[in-house]
């Protein structure tokens, strides 16, 4: 259900997820199929704009500014780390993260409780993003595909994660906002120790 059609009672998506319906899952199928296509080269201005957005988002996470990061998300957002990289069917499969706005707000709250022992000490991360491509879909949303390499250090252990991001961005009065951030780890379905870092 579109955010504008929500009954007033359910309008605050940090507390309610009335908008997560069958159409919400259908949208994910549509986004995934566009991510699987070959895209034409983007206009340099648009390409530069999304590149800046991704760099800023990455910096907010790497600096632990999770409240500021959360502000980048739209009310109907999804932060999605599937177990099967590239998707699978979330209607009948679990994900490492399938966070609508409410659960993403929970996640940031959880990280900031200071009681999540899996993040005490907290992960230190730095990531590099490249191979950025972007197109606009007919509905006006901007899709972005990129590769990432993420280094993490936590509690004496250094790790490297890599994979690709699929972003769906919406242009708003406040700038670009994240409708979907899909994180596809190279080895998402394999052995992982402590995946509580933010991708």
């Amino acid at each position: 259900m579109k955010l504008g059609d929500l009954p007033a009672r359910y309008a605050d998506t940090t507390s309610w997820s009335f908008h997560v319906d069958q159409a919400y899952y259908d949208d994910l199928d549509r986004f995934r199929s566009i991510f699987a296509e070959d895209w034409d080269a983007a206009d340099p201005g648009e390409w530069h704009r999304v590149q800046n957005f991704l760099s800023r988002e990455a910096r907010l996470i790497d600096e632990g500014r999770f409240n500021d990061w959360l502000d980048l998300f739209a009310g109907d957002c999804l932060y999605w780390v599937p177990v099967n990289a590239g998707g699978g069917d979330p209607r009948v499969e679990v994900s490492h993260a399938f966070d609508d706005h409410r659960r993403l707000t929970d996640r940031v709250y959880w990280l900031r409780t200071g009681l999540a022992y899996s993040q005490l000490p907290a992960s230190r991360t730095r990531r590099v993003i490249g191979n950025v491509e972007t197109i606009t879909e007919p509905g006006g949303l901007r899709l972005v595909r990129s590769n990432f390499v993420l280094n993490e250090f936590r509690n004496g252990v250094a790790k490297t994660y890599s994979g690709w991001y699929g972003h769906v961005l919406r242009d708003t009065e406040d700038g670009l906002r994240i409708r979907l951030k899909m994180v596809n780890l190279l080895d998402s379905e394999q052995y992982h120790e402590n995946l509580t870092l933010v991708f």
Binding site: S17, N84, V94, R107, A116, Y117, S118, H192
Partner: protein, 453 residues
């Protein structure tokens, strides 16, 4: 001689001698391991010594008695196969062309290479990629390339090693190398009614293990996970972040009942024999719709609930409850943990490294919305609960490295008046924070390590 020297010096012998310095009753014959496993404590080397681990992988994980291998829904048709492990043995669980279950070592009878390198699929036979030996999915050697190079070759002597006994209990497939082990039914024993409850929640008992499991790992001994699975003492503390998060929107729900002196509440722990135990949380709930009403909201809750209530009316409470976990934590020794709606398998990798595989489940006989909600509820604890436990397991493993502090204690509830009550069937019910589940499973651990099963 120190304990560790003693353990490593005896690990290769079949009969274990007791460490010299710790013998409790000198002059009498002391059972192996009795100085390391006591009524109220176990020795840290059970979690740190590679020689103990090697022996566990042989004896506890299959050599003496049953180990969980797979769920039948992962083998959906004739000639299906699934790669898994029994201890450190690579195993293929297979169905033959008639659908009967088998388990064979995924280890070429020729020069040991892994024969099948796929995780799952359908195959009547497997050809080893190294020298081309081909085996039927029941283990028999079909043929070898250029057989004229062998004098008097008896194909029957070169099949894949087979798991001696493979049996299924209502879809849960177990194996053992011990021809003399008790029947699977006897081994499951008093765990059966609890497993039945879990299976029968699904209409028609139709449970499907989903592809795409969480493979969570931690740097600690496998028993740290088994110690934890039946432990009602830790949630108030280890899961403080989850409980705190759950109160973000006001009224605290879900696992919050662990925080209120749980021994005085309706939750109980049952020690079922043969190493099995269960925590029953259902006493916190009351009637149809109560599981659903008390679940912390997950993605899509409001819309899907509205649709199900509109379409199914009076039956909606029953259906919505099926989207929520079973409210039991059932531990079946040594590697099967039924938690909520999930099937969790403990896979030891090294003495200080373990993989926990969390298989999500869907069920038949319900509208698809129920299974979608079920996926969302099954994501919650692995994301916000389990990682904090595993962080604590890793810190325990670090602590266990200190040689002078020797013991891990499991004495909570021991000799406490009024806690334990044994039923006529031998099942002991006790307070939910009692560490009786540990004392109970170490009895089975000892039986297997002493080859007394």
């Amino acid at each position: 001689m120190t304990i560790e020297e003693s353990i490593s010096s005896t690990a290769t012998s079949t009969t274990r001698t007791v460490p010299n310095g710790l013998t409790a009753c000198s002059g009498s014959t002391v059972q192996p391991w009795s100085d390391l496993v006591r009524d109220d404590r176990v020795h840290r080397t059970l979690y740190t010594d590679a020689a103990v681990f090697a022996e566990e992988m042989q004896r506890v994980f299959g050599g003496e008695s049953w180990v969980y291998l797979a769920h039948e829904s992962q083998l959906p048709e004739p000639n299906s196969f699934l790669s898994t492990r029994m201890g450190l043995r690579q195993i293929l669980v297979t169905r033959d062309r008639a659908g009967a279950l088998h388990a064979v070592f995924n280890r070429c009878a020729h020069r040991a290479a892994t024969v099948c390198r796929e995780e799952s699929g359908v195959a009547k036979s497997f050809q080893c990629p190294y020298h081309g030996w081909t085996f039927r999915n029941t283990g028999e050697l079909v043929g070898v390339p250029w057989p004229q190079g062998y004098a008097d070759f008896d194909k029957a002597a070169f099949g894949l090693t087979t798991v001696t006994r493979v049996e299924s209990y209502r879809g849960f497939v177990f194996g053992t190398m011990n021809i003399d082990a008790p029947s699977l039914g006897d081994f499951l024993g008093h765990a059966k009614p609890w497993l039945d409850y879990w299976i029968d929640r699904a209409p028609g008992g139709d449970v499907q293990v989903r592809p795409g499991a969480y493979r969570m790992g931690y740097r600690g001994n496998w028993k740290l996970a088994y110690d934890n699975a039946g432990d009602g003492y830790h949630p108030s503390f280890s899961h403080r972040s989850l409980l705190e998060m759950a109160s973000r929107m006001g009224e605290s729900k879900d696992m919050s009942y662990f925080g209120k002196t749980p021994d005085d509440g309706p939750m109980k722990s049952y020690v079922l024999g043969n190493g099995h135990s269960v925590i029953d949380q259902r006493g916190n709930y009351d009637g149809p719709g109560s599981f659903w009403a008390n679940q912390r909201p997950q993605p899509g809750r409001e819309q899907f609930e509205a649709q199900i209530r509109q379409r199914y009316g009076d039956d909606a409470d029953r259906l919505l409850d099926l989207a929520i976990g079973s409210q039991i934590n059932l531990s079946i020794f040594p590697n099967l943990l039924i938690i909520g709606n999930q099937v969790q398998v403990v896979e030891p990798l090294e003495v200080d490294r373990t993989q926990l595989v969390w298989h999500a489940t869907t069920i038949g006989g319900v509208p698809p919305e129920v299974n979608t909600l079920r996926m969302r509820t099954q994501e919650d604890f692995p994301a916000f609960g389990e990682p904090d436990d595993q962080a604590n397991f890793e810190e325990a493993q670090r602590g266990l490295a200190a040689p002078e502090a020797e013991w891990v204690f499991m004495n909570r509830g021991l000799d406490v008046t009024g806690w334990q009550e044994a039923g006529p069937d031998g099942v002991v019910v006790t307070a939910v924070t009692d560490e009786l589940h540990m004392r109970g499973y170490y009895e089975e651990w000892l039986r297997r390590m002493r080859a007394e099963v």
